[in-house]
């Protein structure tokens, strides 16, 4: 393949549909999650090592900064999960039309917002 063939696509000049936004956010959330797994494993480690480390984890996670970090990480997970399930549904041939894609993107976005709000309700109340 010719390596430096011209590409005439300036994405900044194009008005993107909602499907583009939910898709790029799914990608961004996936990359964030790859890093967040380290946090999840750190928490798993502390929660299981001893009764003391379990208690220490609980008090650490109660600080506002950590609440925010955990909320953001779990939100990335919730978003990626909901939009990932949309992928799986479409892979079975459901909603593969242009119209169907737009509708399911909207439904998934609403569900994701509800999930993220529920996570906030849980994390910031502990």
């Amino acid at each position: 393949m010719k390596q430096n063939r011209p590409v005439n696509l300036d994405i900044g000049t194009i008005k993107l549909p909602i499907t583009s936004y939910v898709s790029i956010l799914h990608r961004v959330s996936g990359v964030i999650l790859f890093a967040a797994v380290a946090l999840f494993l750190l928490a798993l480690d502390a929660s299981l090592a001893s009764a003391e480390s379990f208690a220490a984890l609980k008090s650490t996670l109660a600080s506002p900064v950590w609440q925010f970090v955990i909320w953001a990480s779990l939100s990335a997970l919730g978003y990626h999960l909901v939009l990932g399930l949309r992928h799986l549904v479409m892979d079975f041939g459901v909603g593969e039309t242009l119209e169907g894609g737009l509708v399911s993107a909207k439904i998934a976005a609403v569900i994701a917002v509800v999930v993220i709000a529920a996570i906030a309700g849980w994390v910031f109340a502990w």
Partner: protein, 121 residues
Amino acid sequence: MVTSVTSFGRSGLSDWLLQRITATIMTAYLIFIVAYFGFNDVDYASWKALNAGLPMKMFSLLTVLSIAIHSWIGMWGVLTDYVTVRLMGAKATALRMVFQLGVIAVSLLYVVWAIDVLWGI
């Protein structure tokens, strides 16, 4: 058929399918954990007892293996889209190799770390 030495399953179809299988396993784990926290008042003793059992260890191990495979495949797709000669010039291929090896190394570390935690209970 297009094959690639740095993708996980060496073929796009295989990677595509593994991405779906690992997503399903992780979803099952998440549903279980959310339900567990929803229906139980979790304290150290009960949490430890849950995770000390062999079935739960296997489930957790399967999940972390899924995370590793899923991340390898997912990050491969991201890196081969953006860290390219077209977007970054001649150095891109070497740079992408470094990133890909980094992703693979971290994925393996996650698995070893999880095994260490789970079998250390």
